[in-house]
Symmetry: C2
Subunit: 192 residues, 2 copies
């Protein structure tokens, strides 16, 4: 998605080997008009899948997921993160390892909000090692819901998340695909 | 706002003396179309204030704030919550006491995203004791920005938050104002 790639080139900040900071339009300060354009793009990519529900994880997933929900006119559910694994009867839960923070987080979704009639689109801000998305997929399986696809804002193709999802035959669409960071600059897949 | 009050009557769940659970359209599952209608209503209420930035707190504030941002076409910044008060040079921080969880949380916003040229609208999902909003106001003061108003989705008028803000002469608009919970039912101010 050109608008997004231009914004990453303009405002993204490459830190070290593999970190892209996009806190001025995506995950601390948010540009609502860009989120709306991204939501329309997700709709274009998945409009034939009869999506009934969008799932994401707090906090950075919420803005892109809710604006996608506005294009699909379906409810958006954001999984809550918590430190301890407190299994509750009324919640589906999964454990998510954070490579950045080197800790296990736990995510959960109320059983009220996902069931076997749902056709689910997962939306997240980043796809790197794929741990957050895998956690959501686990919850979708627990609920016997149908996964229709995964929509990602920014994918780092050189980390293993995309490969894991492809190996499972999942329909993944990323609005910006980063091939590498070279000399502090972002190189997109199509620039290669 | 009638649409919101009807939704609260239909889907809100009164728990005990003073808790209203609205997790099926506001703070776990989110209804994007309702958020968009609320965003337009906030715009109608504050459109003459020349707002340049919207501030909220993760996670429940993000959906209503971003959809308000879409109506105003201004950036939205969400404060990050953390357990420990780690003062950093590049962040404004404030301490927020949670009456629900009986703990101090700390919130912070990067100095990059708010400055003395900003005219700020604060948006939050609930106004009860006003602690989260007070924390944001503290950050706005630290940044020497101008507070133009506070927009609340659901106000519990019988708790002290509104009074605290009124005493400071702040322009507060709440889309739904709850006067009381009676026999497990919500009573709005205008029903009184």
């Amino acid at each position: 998605m050109q608008l997004l790639e231009e914004r990453i080139k303009k405002d993204g900040q490459v830190l070290g080997e593999d970190v892209l900071k996009v806190d001025n339009f995506l995950n601390h300060q948010v540009d609502p008009d860009l989120m709306a354009a991204m939501g329309e793009e997700f709709y274009r990519l998945f409009k034939d899948a009869n999506i009934t529900k969008i799932l994401t994880v707090e906090s950075s997933g919420i803005a892109p997921a809710v604006l996608a929900g506005l294009s699909f006119h379906v409810p958006v559910v954001f999984a809550r993160k918590h430190k301890s694994l407190t299994l509750q009867d009324n919640m589906y839960s999964a454990t998510v390892y954070s490579y950045t923070k080197k800790v296990n987080n736990h995510i959960s979704i109320s059983k009220k909000f996902i069931d076997e009639n749902d056709r689910v689109l997962v939306i997240d801000d980043f796809l790197a090692n794929g741990q957050a998305v895998e956690g959501l997929l686990e919850i979708i399986e627990q609920a016997n819901a149908q996964l229709e696809g995964v929509g990602i804002v920014i994918e780092k193709t050189f980390q293993k998340g995309r490969e894991l999802l492809d190996a499972r035959g999942i329909h993944v669409e990323s609005l910006a695909r980063i091939a590498a960071f070279e000399n502090g600059e972002v190189v997109f897949v199509e620039d290669k």
